[in-house]
Symmetry: C2
Subunit: 360 residues, 2 copies
């Protein structure tokens, strides 16, 4: 069977790591009897260079008419890249925000867990790590401050800027339902994070999440204030199963959580809409400083491809095979430079992709 996949190589290390994910997908296809039909789509800096803007209508349509999108990473070094001389709406990141909104990718799943093999890279002490941790951050991705009305005005000679944080109950309900569904397949605990002691949107968030929770008597729910959650991620990450939160809080907390694992080069993500469609990308950025050197870690992108197999294409067996191949390669001591440690074998981007493909 053929699957139509839109591929966004993106910027920085994006093209290198996406190529390895495609290699692994092709190996899985050979084994499990499917074939990928890739269509390349430009987004971010790569699109600016060709089209003068970070995304085009055609790019969105190509993505929309695919079964899923596999993405590298976008953006460059803000201090030095000419892309960042453009006005904000023309910069690489604007393309990412635009595709999220256009394709209604409201549910961002970002797993953050400790790899037993990479424990040494975790910035936390062993007694904090305890028996490890494994959480799934469910971030609302198409609402809140990211997509509210905004303006900058001059009033009586004083510049003033306004952003708006808006949520309606439908937006909250659909992401909450996803979070509870996922918690059911995990450890049956949802921690909903908000700032209900200050924000109206958080109070509505809390109320709607509680309504949804009634349909999931088998899943425990607790509420946590965002400032406390930022502390708890450092103090006791093992307490979390599914973290459910709005867009901006999710941006901050998911990055904190990924750093707490110590191996951000290993963390995948999925952004889903109401259907099976999704956009899959590593949690990390485009690392322009090491672009083109052949040393980037492709594993986060390869694991994102595994998520794609699972969530968008219903190819669970193939997804398992990819994840197991990654484990095997790690178990045998192969490491890219970002996760290298004593006694291991250091390999480059392509070699890492080859090894994982080979173990499928």
């Amino acid at each position: 069977m053929n699957h139509k996949i839109a591929v966004i190589p993106g910027d920085g290390i994006g093209p290198e790591i996406v190529a390895e994910a495609q290699k692994v997908l092709d190996a899985a296809g050979k084994k499990y009897g499917f074939e990928m039909e890739y269509t390349k789509v430009l987004l971010g800096g790569a699109s600016i260079d060709v089209h003068g803007k970070p995304i085009t209508d055609e790019a969105i349509e190509t993505a929309r008419s695919s079964e899923a999108v596999l993405m590298g990473s976008i953006g460059g070094d803000a201090a030095t890249s000419p892309w960042y001389k453009l006005e904000p709406s023309l910069r690489p990141e604007a393309g990412l925000l635009a595709i999220r909104k256009a394709l209604n990718l409201f549910a961002n799943l970002r797993p953050a867990y400790l790899y037993e093999e990479l424990k040494a890279a975790c910035p936390l002490r062993d007694d904090i790590i305890g028996s490890g941790f494994d959480m799934m951050i469910m971030r609302e991705l198409t609402g809140g401050l990211y997509f509210g009305e905004r303006k900058t005005v001059v009033e009586d000679g004083v510049r003033k800027a306004v952003d708006t944080l808006t949520y309606d109950e439908k937006e909250i309900r659909r992401i909450a339902v996803r979070a509870f569904d996922i918690a059911r397949k995990r450890r049956h605990l949802v921690t909903s994070v908000d700032k209900a002691n200050v924000l109206d949107s958080s109070r509505l968030w809390r109320a709607v999440v509680e309504e949804v929770a009634k349909d999931y008597p088998d899943v425990a729910l607790n509420h946590m204030l965002v400032d406390n959650c930022a502390m708890q991620l450092v103090k006791d990450p093992g307490q979390f199963d599914v973290i459910l939160t709005e867009n901006m809080f999710g941006d901050i907390l998911s990055d904190e959580a990924s750093m707490v694992t110590g191996s951000i080069g290993m963390l995948s993500s999925a952004s889903l809409n109401e259907t099976k469609f999704g956009l899959y990308e590593p949690s990390h950025g485009s690392a322009p400083d090491i672009a083109g050197k052949g040393i980037a870690n492709p594993i986060a992108t390869i694991l994102s491809a595994a998520m794609m197999l699972r969530y968008s294409l219903d190819l669970d067996e193939a997804a398992d095979a990819v994840e197991n191949a990654v484990k095997k390669v790690l178990g045998e001591g192969y490491r890219t430079t970002d996760i290298m440690s004593e006694g291991c074998t250091q390999v480059g981007t392509q070699k890492m992709g080859d090894l994982i493909a080979q173990y499928i």
Copy 2:
């Protein structure tokens, strides 16, 4: 000389820890020739219990007519306390927000540093800690989402909530000036944190901070996105000197930073307006679970009192004496239970206050 100080014992452990701070202030007064005239002010749950609301006009006026406010901590356990059955504007925290706004306390200073003696409590590994860290978080405290217009409405049968994030250039400039002034007395580095790739308010923030920076050629400025900052605090806290940020980001990041130190029971804070006036309180909360047990750590409040001596009363010598007394007591191995470790002497709240007062 007499100084008029408003004292807010507050809730939970508040009254216990504030009493120790007063004890230490009195000891310093005896030595350095000043006397404190304390006026008790109710705020938070304590005010709800007496007046049915978390703050009264009289409370604000008493605070306003003092030279400074010394505060314990406010609030209770949201799950069990009857205060949290009230509508949001009548809950304990609303009192704190109201006094910040009424007294124009726009500059929140929250130091976060690693105590050499308490290194073992730090959740980070030794190689991450490196040679230690010492940062000052400058959080804007009277603007942004905290004080923007908000509403919850029903539109076509759908509940919808809106919060507004507003900053004008004056609000940004005055906190930025404070941050640069403080950086000058420290390690001459300001890291301004925003989300300029998404928010208009952040882009204005960045522009104004850059304008202010021109007057401080001796202070280095860099900009960091909030999600990245949440990572960097865990990855390499030693890189920061002064962190300058808006209200909500500051709430999240300062709590994360305080947890990264591993000894939140030791961290003070000051909230200042344009004059010398300020409100001083520990960074930690009211810990209702240990209230009344005589085991709470009073050091954060005692160090907040030292900040008060320094910033509001120009009693630098006395402030130094308090800080040195704290160091001495720690150096001699006295610890409250939250910071207890092997080989140390465990003491209660009062004994800790006695010891520090004695070493003045």
